[in-house]
Amino acid sequence: MKLAVWTYEGPPHVGALRVATAMKGLHYVLHAPQGDTYADLLFTMIERRDHRPPVTYTTFQARDLGADTANLFKTACQAAYDRFQPQAMIVGASCTAELIQDDPGGMAETMGLPVPVIPLELPSYQRKENFGADETLFQIIRHLARPMERTAHLSCNLIGPTALGFRHRDDITEVTALLEDMGISVNVAAPYGASPEDITRLGAAHFNVLMYPETGESSCRWMERELGQPFTKTVPLGVGATRDFVNEVAGLAGVKPRLDTSRLRLPWYAASVDSTYLTGKRVFLFGDGTHVAAAARIARDEMGFEVVGLGCYNREMARPIRALAKEYGVEALITDDYLEVERAIEDLAVELILGTQMERHIAKRLGIPCAVISAPVHVQDFPARYAPQMGIEGANVIFDTWVHPLVMGLEEHLLHMFRDDFEFHDAAGPSHHGGHAAPPPPDEPEPRQESAEVIWLADAEKELKKIPFFVRGKARRNTELFAADRGEKVISIETLYEAKAHYAR
C-alpha cells in the first residue's frame, strides 16, 4: 500500500478515456462500478467540453457480483453500439472490474459486432494514466493502421495530443502552422480530432511528429517499425527547442529549414531592461518529464533563471530527467509523492515554482509564486484565448505566464524604496494580483523545528519586517542557515546584514 494525499496521475483507464474523448466516432465500453463515472466531469467540467465523453460504464453494484456481471457487460456493449453506432469500439475494465476477471475483450469478441472492437489490457494496480493513454493509442493504431502509399504532397502525422492535455488543442494549431511554413501538410493528428477511419490513413504520411512522448511514443515506435515512418525526437517547446525541431523536421523531410520569427518576442522581452529582476531567480520545476525538460532549458537559457531543483512524477521519464538534472548541477526528484515535492520546495527556498496544479496547492501554502507548465491541470488551464506552449507563439505565451505571478521589475524596486508607503505596504500585494486580492504569505507558514532554537533579537526582527514580504521568507531562512553554520544561536541586526552580504550575488 502507498499513502497518497494528492496524486499526479489517475489510473490507466483515465488515460484511455483521454484518448477516447479526444477522438470522434470511437466508443469506449468500460466495465466499472458507478463511482467510476466521476471521470466524465474531468472532461465536461475541467475541460468544459460541450458533450459527454464517448464512454458507457456498466456501473455494476454489489448485488450483481454474485450474479452475472459478464452479462451486464454484454448488454451495455450492445446498447452502446446500437445507440452510438461508432466506427470502432475499445473495451476494457477499471480497477474493480479487473479484480472480478470478466475479460471484457474476450466477451466483446464473441458478440460479433460489425465494427472493430479493440480490447485494452490496462493493469490498474501497476500502471498509471500516461501509460493508459499511450497504450490505448498504440492499440488503436496497431489494430487499424496499415502500410499504404504515401501522399503525393509531403505530409506528416501529429502524434500524442489527447483530451485533458495541457494546451494540446492550441499546440496542434501552432505546430501545424510551423510545418506548413516548410511546405509540409498534416495528414492526421491523433488521437485529438481523429476518427477510427482517420487512423487507417496514418500510413500515408511521410513521417511522424511526436508531440508528447508520454502519450505517443509507443505508437511512433510501432509506426517506425511497421509503416516505415521515422519520427521527431525534439519537442518544440521554447525558442531553442523550436529551432532544433525545425532543423530536425527539415532533415527528416529533406527540405530546407524555415522558421518565421517575425512574431517571436520572448528573446527580446527576456533581454529588455525590465527583465533584469528575473536574473538568477531561483526556480523549481516539476511535472511530466517532457514539459519539465523543455521548461528547464527555457528557464536557464531563455529567461536567465537559476534552476535549483527539478523532477518529474512519471517514472517512465526518470532516466532522461536524471541525466538532465546532472547537466543543471542538481539532483532530480523522481516521485509521485506530493508531500516529498512539497518538502523539496520548502527546503530549497525557491522564488518561483513551475509545476502542475498540485504545485499550485503547495505554492499557495508556502506563499511562493507559481505558474503551471504541465498536467495535471485545472479548469483555468483551459483558457478561452489561444494559448499554445509550442512554437513561436508558445514561447511568447510561456514568457507571459511565467512572469505574471512575479512582482514586475520596476515594481520590485518601488516596493523596496517605498516599503513604508501606505500603498506599497505588505498587505497590498503585487498590483496585478488585484491589490488586496492576494493576502501576503505568512512570514513563516510553519516554523520549522531547527529555527525554533534560534532567537531573533527584537531589533533584528524589526529590521526583517522592513524587507518586502515576497523575499522575507527567504531572508529569514538564509539568515538562520548562516547563523547555524557559524554556530550562533542569537540573531542580531549584525547577523542579518552579515548573512545578506554572504548570500549577495
Binding site: 500500500m1 502507498k2 494528492w6 463511482g35 467540467m45 454489489a62 493493469p123 494496480y125
Partner: protein
C-alpha cells in the same frame, strides 16, 4: 397538519388532496451518472476537524477524491488514500500489516488526528479486506488517543450522499450511553447553518441538543432510550436505523428546506418538547416572514417554469416539494438514487401528483425523456451539466445543493437563488450579438 400555525399571508398552495406517496416509481437499470459514497469525505473532513479519512482503495479512488475536491480545497486535506498495489492483491503482503504501517505513518505525520475512519472502496470490498478487524486492532493500538472506525463508501454499495450516512451510522455504536432526555440533530450541516438551527431551538426553549456528527470527538455526544432525534438530511436511512437500535426515537417530519419545510420540521420538534403554539409563532414569526420575502424575490424567475431532476443526492424529493410549493415551479420528473419512503414519506405527501418519480438510473433513457420534455431547468450532476447546456437546456449543478448552506429559514432565499440564477443568466446573456 392541523397543528400548523398558518399566518394569513401564507403563499403556499393549499395542501394537495393527494400527494405522491402512492405514485408508482419508475425503476430502470443502466448506466448511473452519480458519485460514489467516497465523495462524502469532502465535506465530512471539514466538518469533523479532528478526523482523518483514509480510503483503502485504488488509484481511481484517490483520483476521484482529488477531482471532486481539488477544485475547492487548497489546504492540506484531512483525507488520503492507501493505494492498493499488486503485492497487496497477490497476497504477497499481509494487508492488515500494510494498513497498519500506513496508519502509523499517517498518525506520526498528523499528531492532531483524534478520529480515524478507514473507508472501504470498491476494490477493498471485492477483495473482502476486513476493515472492521483492522479498525479494531488499530483502535486497541492507539487508544485512548485515537479512535479508529470503519465504513464503506464504495460505489458498489453507496451513492454520493450515502457515504455520509454510512459514516454517521458507523459512529453510532461507538457513542456512549445516556438516559438523559435530549434532542439529537442528525446530519452534517455547514457550521453557520448548524449554529442557526441551534439558536432557533434554544429560542424555542428546547434542550439539551446534541449534533451528530459533532465537530470534535470530545463533545459529550451520547445516545440512549430518552434521546429523540431529527434528521436534517433525507439520505440518512442507515443512521436512522442505527440510532433506533440504540433506543433513540425518530421525529418524522418534512426536511428543513424553505420556509414551509423549516416550519414543519421545527413544529415536529416543538410538539415533542411541548412548546406552546403562541411561543412557537413568536419565535418563528420574524424569520418565517424573512424567508418568505427572500424566496419570493428569487421565485419571480422560477414561477411557472418546469424542472427535471436527475438522481444525485437524495435531496431531490424535498427540493421538488420546495420548488413546486414555494417557488411555483412544475416538476416534470423527480429522479433520486434511492427513495426511502420511511424518511421522505411526508415530503411525498406534500408533493402534488404529476411528476414521474424515478429511482436509480439508466442515464441514456433518462436523457431521452429529458430532451423530449425540454424542461426550463434541469438539475443534474457535473458530468451532464455542460453537455445539456450545450443542447440549450438550462441546468443547475446538483453538487452545489450539497455543498452550499441551504437549510433553515435564513438560507431559504439562497436555496431559491441557486435555481433562479441559471435562468436569470440566460436572460442576461445576449449571445446572438456575440456570434
Amino acid at each position: 397538519m392541523t397543528h400548523h400555525a398558518r399566518p394569513p399571508d401564507r403563499p403556499h398552495p393549499p395542501a394537495q388532496a393527494r400527494g405522491c406517496r402512492d405514485t408508482p416509481i419508475l425503476k430502470q437499470r443502466g448506466q448511473h451518472e452519480v458519485f460514489c459514497g467516497l465523495t462524502g469525505i469532502i465535506w465530512l473532513h471539514r466538518k469533523m476537524q479532528d478526523a482523518f479519512f483514509l480510503v483503502v482503495g485504488s488509484r481511481t479512488c484517490a483520483h476521484l477524491l482529488q477531482s471532486a475536491a481539488g477544485v475547492m480545497i487548497f489546504a492540506e486535506p484531512r483525507f488520503g488514500t492507501a493505494i492498493l498495489e499488486e503485492g497487496d492483491l497477490a497476497g504477497l503482503k499481509d494487508a492488515q500489516d500494510e494498513l497498519e504501517r500506513v496508519v502509523v505513518d499517517l498518525l506520526t505525520r498528523r499528531a492532531d488526528i483524534r478520529q480515524l475512519f478507514l473507508v472501504g472502496s470498491c476494490p477493498s470490498e471485492v477483495i473482502k479486506l476486513d476493515l472492521a478487524r483492522a479498525a479494531e486492532r488499530l483502535s486497541a493500538k492507539f487508544a485512548p488517543k485515537v479512535r479508529v472506525l470503519n465504513y464503506s463508501g464504495s460505489g458498489i454499495e453507496t451513492t454520493f450522499t450515502e457515504g455520509e450516512d454510512a459514516c454517521l451510522a458507523a459512529m453510532v455504536p461507538a457513542l456512549p450511553e445516556t438516559d438523559a432526555r435530549q434532542l439529537l440533530l442528525v446530519g452534517a450541516l455547514p457550521d453557520v447553518v448548524e449554529d442557526q438551527a441551534l439558536d432557533l431551538l434554544k429560542a424555542l426553549g428546547i434542550g439539551p441538543v446534541s449534533v451528530l456528527p459533532a465537530r470534535h470527538l470530545e463533545s459529550g455526544l451520547a445516545v440512549g432510550p430518552n434521546t429523540v432525534f431529527a434528521l436534517t438530511q433525507p439520505f440518512l436511512g442507515g443512521t436512522h436505523a442505527a440510532l433506533e437500535r440504540r433506543g433513540a426515537r425518530h421525529l418524522s417530519a418534512p426536511f428543513p428546506f424553505g420556509e414551509e419545510g423549516t416550519t414543519a420540521w421545527l413544529q415536529a420538534v416543538a410538539r415533542e418538547f411541548g412548546v406552546d403554539q403562541a411561543h412557537f409563532d413568536a419565535v418563528t414569526g420574524a424569520p418565517r416572514a424573512r424567508a418568505r420575502r427572500a424566496v419570493a424575490k428569487a421565485a419571480d424567475a422560477l414561477r411557472g417554469k418546469s424542472v427535471f431532476f436527475f438522481p444525485d443526492s437524495q435531496l431531490e424529493i424535498p427540493l421538488a416539494r420546495f420548488l413546486t410549493r414555494e417557488c411555483g415551479m412544475q416538476a416534470l420528473e423527480v429522479g433520486a438514487p434511492f427513495i426511502h419512503k420511511g424518511l421522505v414519506g411526508e415530503e411525498l405527501d406534500l408533493l402534488a401528483e404529476g411528476p414521474t418519480l424515478a429511482e436509480g438510473q439508466d442515464v441514456e433513457l433518462q436523457l431521452d425523456r429529458c430532451r423530449a420534455a425540454r424542461p426550463d431547468l434541469t438539475v443534474c450532476g457535473l458530468g451532464l451539466a455542460n453537455p445539456l447546456e450545450a443542447e440549450g437546456l438550462a441546468t443547475k449543478w446538483a453538487i452545489e445543493l450539497v455543498f452550499t448552506p441551504v437549510h433553515f429559514y435564513e438560507q431559504a432565499g439562497d436555496l431559491a437563488g441557486l435555481f433562479s440564477r441559471p435562468l436569470r443568466r440566460r436572460n442576461l446573456l445576449q449571445l446572438e450579438a456575440a456570434e
